[in-house]
């Protein structure tokens, strides 16, 4: 359900897509699993609640939080905004594809991918950085919101969040 008081747009790349929602307090959505591929949401600002339709299974979300919605991806989901909101949804093209995600912390001045890639068994994971807010700097390159890059184990990535927010998304 989209109305004129709320703005939504999509951006895609070969590996994933994002949907961006800006709207007013009180906005309600209802989505069927056929239409819903969102597995994570970053809340730029706003508060609200989302959960499986007609059940008590729901989660609350708030500012500057990466919300894990993977367990809802096969369900009918309702959400309500309890404040004006700006939300970036991270969408997979294949709901059965496993993804992990986290925000890069302000203490991480160098990206360490050893926990993902430094294993005895072969690893086929692919890792992406997505700029979610502000103008963070990686390897002296200043990113803007929705810029993304694939990052590779063995390469060096010096990070300065510069007050911004970066998401690390791993396609397992």
């Amino acid at each position: 359900m989209i109305d004129d008081g709320n703005k939504r747009f999509y951006r895609r790349c070969d590996e994933f897509a994002i949907c961006v929602n800006l709207g007013k307090k009180g906005y309600v959505t209802a989505e069927s699993p056929e239409d819903r591929n969102t597995i994570f949401q970053y809340i730029v600002y706003g508060k609200g609640k989302a959960g499986i339709m007609f059940t008590e299974d729901n989660i609350e979300f708030k500012d500057r939080e990466l919300v894990d919605l993977r367990r809802y991806v096969h369900d009918y989901v309702m959400s309500i905004a309890t404040e004006d909101f700006f939300i970036i949804g991270f969408n997979t093209y294949d709901k059965y594809q496993k993804w992990d995600a986290r925000l890069i912390s302000k203490d991480e001045t160098e990206l360490d991918l050893r926990s993902i890639y430094d294993r005895i068994e072969p690893v086929s994971s692919r890792t992406f950085i997505l700029c979610l807010d502000g103008r963070p700097i990686i390897n002296d390159k200043k990113l803007k919101r929705y810029d993304y890059s694939e990052v590779f184990f063995g390469n060096s990535y010096k990070i300065d969040l510069n007050g911004g927010v970066l998401g690390l998304f791993v396609k397992c």
Binding site: R8, F9, Y10, R11, R12, C13, A17, I18, I129, L130, I138, N139, K141, L143, K144, Y146, D147, Y148, S149, E150, V151, N155, Y157
Partner: protein, 113 residues
Amino acid sequence: MMFPNILFKVIRNDPINKSIVVKFCRENAQKPIDEYKSVNISYRNIDFSSPKAFEDSMRSRGNPVVMKQLMSEPALDENKGISEILSTDINDYVGKIVCTTSDTSGSLNRVTL
């Protein structure tokens, strides 16, 4: 998306072939309805059960016709815009006409680090 009102004018009724010939245009079109192309609509696609149902049939058939008319209207030379300004400084936009698409999807910007 809200549409302006749609005008329709039945030009001809053809009971032998069970169809009507109709012209459509927007109420705020910039030329008379008679100057637009006619379309043929089979009785099968029209609900004759009430005047309102008939009007609903005309609306559902007229919507895409009118949208096509709207999309094919030429832009004024004075309204030709540039496609983008690669700046977040609002001052770079002052006085310039920028053309943006109504498409809400697009590509993410991939950067090499």
